[in-house]
């Protein structure tokens, strides 16, 4: 599971233009791409398990970075061709060395727990990509870890890298039955203080997590690569009427209300632009607000008298603001 569904993809605010410096086939369906800085600058380090959002034409998709992240010369991702997807992976597979591409700064949503005594990594199929990042970082930082990897006989993507990290302690499974039977004993026999990290198809992840919980693992020790919606993700278009001037504007789904107001020359005091600091409150005269901020209390939100215009939107088609 490396691609985030388009409807849930995060807003990409901070981007960089990188150059494709390496393309290679890992299996008939999976191709790896490396991106480096065009100007030769060092790329920002990233937290193990991070992803980047790649923008290609009108498509944006998120892909896990497979490096350790500690001092990257390049960002490397592995993209499985998904014929039934939105076309993002097909477009990616057209990329060639020398092409330039727009990517977000790395975003961390599947971070290792630094205080863990041991890291038990479990990957299935293309779910190996963020797990490989974790495994490499654990090796570089000298953290205790082990890996269980489930893959189809002909498509063990990144198998060689996994074997070179873990040697004979890597446990490989080419069918679900053998994995299922050893999972139970693996879950029983971890050192106290072990954290479990799993990535793979949704059904696979939930069965691993369910079994771990049944066997008494605290949920704080269980981590899965979940591609959750960003609170600042895109929304629907809506209309805003500005009562003082009588102007009406449309806020497109890809823009915040604050950005739309700024776009017509109305400046609203703001600081964090993340719905926290409370600076950009605007009085609402009509309409219900889809609150996405952390500033207003639940009681205040229920009144629909204020909108934090950097993140919040309209529930229905229209809002009237006292501006």
């Amino acid at each position: 599971m490396t691609a985030i569904p388009v409807a849930m993809r995060p807003r990409v605010s901070k981007q960089m233009i990188l150059e494709v410096v390496d393309v290679r086939d890992l299996s008939p369906k999976v191709r790896s791409f490396s991106f480096a800085s065009i100007s030769g600058q060092q790329l920002p380090a990233f937290v193990p398990g991070s992803h980047i959002v790649v923008e290609l034409g009108s498509k944006s998709n998120s892909y896990s970075l497979t490096g350790s992240g500690q001092y990257p010369d390049a960002y490397t991702i592995s993209v499985a061709l998904a014929p039934e997807g939105n076309g993002g992976s097909k477009a990616m597979h057209q990329l060639q060395v020398g092409d330039s591409i727009k990517v977000s700064y790395p975003r961390s949503a599947f971070a290792p727990v630094a205080s863990a005594r041991h890291h038990l990594f479990i990957a299935a199929g293309i779910g190996i990509t963020p797990i490989l990042s974790h495994a490499r970082a654990a090796e570089e930082l000298g953290r205790s870890s082990s890996l269980m990897y489930v893959f189809r006989p002909t498509s063990g993507v990144h198998l060689q890298e996994c074997r070179s990290i873990y040697g004979t302690t890597l446990t490989e499974y080419t069918d679900r039955e053998s994995f299922n039977s050893s999972l139970r004993s693996a879950l029983l026999n971890q050192p106290i203080g072990t954290h479990l990290y799993v990535c793979g198809p949704a059904g696979f992840m939930s069965s691993v997590l369910r079994l771990a919980e049944e066997m008494g693992w605290p949920t704080e020790r269980l981590h899965s690569e979940h591609f959750e919606a960003d609170v600042q993700g895109p929304g629907k278009n809506f209309q805003v009427t500005l009562a003082q001037s009588g102007q009406t504007i449309t806020v497109p789904g890809t823009k915040s209300l604050l950005e739309a107001l700024e776009g017509i020359g109305i400046s609203v005091p703001n600081m964090c632009r993340k719905g926290v600091c409370g600076e950009c409150a605007v009085p609402v005269l009509k309409g219900r607000v889809e609150h996405r901020d952390l500033y207003l209390t639940d009681e205040e939100k229920a009144l629909h008298e204020t909108v934090m215009c950097c993140v919040s939107r309209a529930q229905e088609q229209e809002l009237e603001l006292d501006l």
């Binding site: 380090a45 500690q70 971070a111 205080s115 632009r273 993340k274 926290v276 952390l294």
Partner: protein
Amino acid sequence: MNVEMQSAGSSTDEIDFQEVPTFESEVPNRISGFPFPFRDDVYRYSTNVEPALQLVQTEAGSWGDRIIDIDSNYLEELNLRETVLRLDPTRLQVMSHMRPAAWDAITTVLPQMAATYPDIMKFERQGNQCRWQNGLQDIDLEFTVGADETLPEGPLHFLGSQIQDDIVLMDQREGSLWLDAGLVTFAADWSVGFDVGMRFLEIHGPVPRVHEERIITRAHQFLLRLQPGEQYRRTNWTMTVDRRLDTSTETYPEWGKDRTLVVDDPTLPDRLHLRVEVQHLIKLPATGALLFLVRTYLASLREIATVPEWRTRLGKVLEELPSDMAEYKGIDRYRNAAAHWLQGGD
């Protein structure tokens, strides 16, 4: 005190010292770059966080266009830090799982510092091999990221020997931030040895008013949502008697009594200082740990009074401040005397 370039002659072949900033005499420098924190005549707590690196114009000058700010007190304050650490090694705390975060802090802060002061500092890195040159301290040092033994006192102590800021590192796990490492010698009446291992919300438990107004929980949510590489800042303030940076809980017996004695002291305007912290909140790129840098600035009431707008505003803020907030800040004994003087009294 001017920073002296005692060492400039010895390593000029590596760094060009011709552009060394000439620090002006102490007082103008301290006030022109002083981060006067009040936007209004009334002060209340708020989640006053904003993106870092934005210049703020004040009535006396400006501040805020850099993360690491070096001023004329640089060598003096770093010497003081070493003295405090020698007398009380508990001011440095690093839980073992925070070692990578301490290295992450070094490889994040030193390049920024070199970019801010290119004429006197230089940072180079190839893989894990780094070289750091600091002309203000005559340092030319090579070290290996992750290898603690390559820095004389370990990574966090070394970073604390290069910047005037106190350093706190917070780990993020289980939906919380944990203060799991720090080098804090200039605390405003708190103790890193006491707070280490505690959660952000526990540490802020005693602060009055902020819980009813959900300020701390909002700040916590904000910090948890920061993405690696993002840098924010806020200011905080209190007051301190004399130019004393080390007002840690540990040394309370040394400075606590001054808070009462200063009230009737005719030299109160020179002894009483507005203490402002510029706190930078940096989500570290390689570990995701949160780096808090706390840079402390002190200006006496007499220095504040050289800027008429500040004099009036601070007087009003001190006079109006609710008693529970004044008590928590430890300024309740003398704030009326301070407000009286600022507002033109004797």
